[in-house]
């Protein structure tokens, strides 16, 4: 029953966000587009967390996705948003497929630190490479979507609408995945790897597949973010960016595929408001928010929704 509710909630949220496309002010659309992009990365992180793993290095795939998309537009001259999203996702998935072979063998702090280390290698490489703009990065500009030319002025709204549809499509797919045998198997691995092996299933394979999926989602999120911001820089792969994703994941909780988007939106709003009205203490405000969540809602904001349903 709750599964149907989630599908319904996804549809409603998608509809509301789409309806906002022609009406919302630019700043709100920008905030929402960024929240959707980050929500995608966190969706992948939630998948890993459901398998019992926390990655402090999703910035690797986020940055790679952003740079792949940006390079396709700037250097290869293929400034098509759909192609850029595809490229960002594919590059991230390919790298995750290689690194996953190693990382799927590690757990807990070793997994977290190794994933962090890999992301910092990319960051270091980007900072040192002057051809890619070094610490400044570079700008990008998409001229079409799937071959359809975009009139300037409307392009942001079109990107936003497309991201809404794509992101919610992906969220629905992940929702289906989590409710499937492999989704339950992921939870089983988090609970008791030993028993999973003793029942005859390969823990390594499930962890690997989930890792690659999370990488692909982060790459897609990176491409979306690059399109929304119109600029990429090494910060996308920096550890604080990865930490931000973990923050958003904990803020929302792993209870539902909608939670990452809700918490990403809250996070972005909090950051926007806090950096405007309290620019010197905005990080502290986020820290306090995090402490409050851990102390009072250890299952994340989503537990509030569940409590409401139960009431």
């Amino acid at each position: 029953m709750s599964r149907d509710r989630t599908v319904g909630a996804l549809a409603v949220a998608c509809g509301v966000l789409l309806a906002a496309a022609p009406l919302a002010p630019q700043w709100l659309m920008f905030l929402l587009a960024l929240a959707l992009a980050k929500g995608l990365v966190v969706l992948g992180l939630v998948l890993l967390m459901r398998t019992g793993l926390v990655s402090f290095g999703q910035g690797l795939y986020f940055g790679l996705g952003a740079y792949s998309a940006a390079l396709l537009a700037n250097r290869a001259g293929l400034a098509d948003a759909a192609l850029m999203i595809l490229a960002g996702t594919a590059c991230a998935a390919a790298l995750a497929a290689i690194l996953g072979l190693l990382l799927a063998r590690y757990r807990e702090i070793f997994f977290a630190m190794l994933s962090l280390a890999f992301s910092m290698i990319l960051y270091g490489a980007l900072v040192k490479s002057s051809a890619l703009g070094s610490t400044d990065g570079f700008n990008l500009h998409a001229k079409s979507f799937a071959g359809i030319a975009l009139a300037s002025g409307t392009e942001r709204r079109v990107f936003y609408a497309v991201s809404v549809v794509l992101v919610f499509g992906v969220a629905w797919l992940l929702h289906r995945y989590l409710a499937s045998h492999w989704g339950r198997l992921s939870a089983a691995i988090r609970d008791n790897e030993l028993r999973v092996e003793y029942l005859g299933a390969s823990v390594y394979r499930v962890v690997y597949v989930n890792y690659v999926a999370a990488g692909a989602l982060a790459g897609m999120g990176g491409a979306f973010a690059a399109l929304a911001v119109g600029h990429v820089d090494p910060e996308t792969a920096y550890w604080t960016t990865s930490g931000e994703f973990v923050f958003i994941a904990i803020l929302g909780g792993t209870g539902n595929v909608l939670a990452p988007f809700l918490s990403a939106a809250i996070f972005e709003a909090l950051r926007t408001i806090a950096s405007q009205y309290a620019p010197n203490v905005w990080q502290m405000s986020l820290g306090i928010a995090m402490l409050a969540i851990i102390m009072f809602l250890p299952g994340g904001l989503w537990t509030l929704m569940q409590r409401n349903k139960a009431a």
Binding site: L185, A187, D191, R195, Y198, L199, G200
Partner: protein, 240 residues
Amino acid sequence: MNPILVAQGVQKSFGAVSAASDLNLSFERESVVSLIGANGAGKTTFLNLVTGYLKPDRGSIRFDGRELTGHSPREITGLGIRRSFQIPQLFHSLSVRENLRVAERIARIERVEQAADAMLEKFGLTRYAGQAAGLLPEGIRKLLDVAMALVAMPKILLLDEPTSGVAADEKFGIMDLVMGALRGRGVTVLFVEHDMDIVARYAGRVVAFYDGRVIADGEPAQVLGDAEVRRYVIGEETHA
């Protein structure tokens, strides 16, 4: 005679402690064998060696002529050797039904829902079906642990203290249930047990362990009457 499981010269030590020293055991097809011994005698170590969780320092373990040492628990499970655990190994955040469903799907059981329903009923778990496994009372956790080992019919079933933690008046019930489910299916059963009444009633053969060695092996009446067994195994039990 063609034994299904043969251990030859198996040795395993943890530092200075010898958990298996030169074990030579063979098990006939469809036999029901109880492994007894005080805590630390090497019974669970033997199960861990057979299922690939531990690798022997020396010796070989062959299943149907096939070497098991060096293979993982997953591969050995795939060959048809399944086990339950002394401390129930469950998926605590999943419900009882989901635990069974995961086990059944991995074992490629068809019609998972019906199979889960049948299993829940057989083990008297129907009223707990929706509860998270982590919140179950110990006896029920044990039942679920055994039920999960039985979702697919194994060739060899290893039960590690299947009745520990279960209320005294339900112990025979569990064993009746398990043995009933296996009857006529050609399954070889090895079970570790501390309750000598259970051993005497269900085992066709008893192997007594002490200090990583086998000190007696034979028919239940003979082994349970053995002076060494009475001193080192049963004696310790009654004074424990």
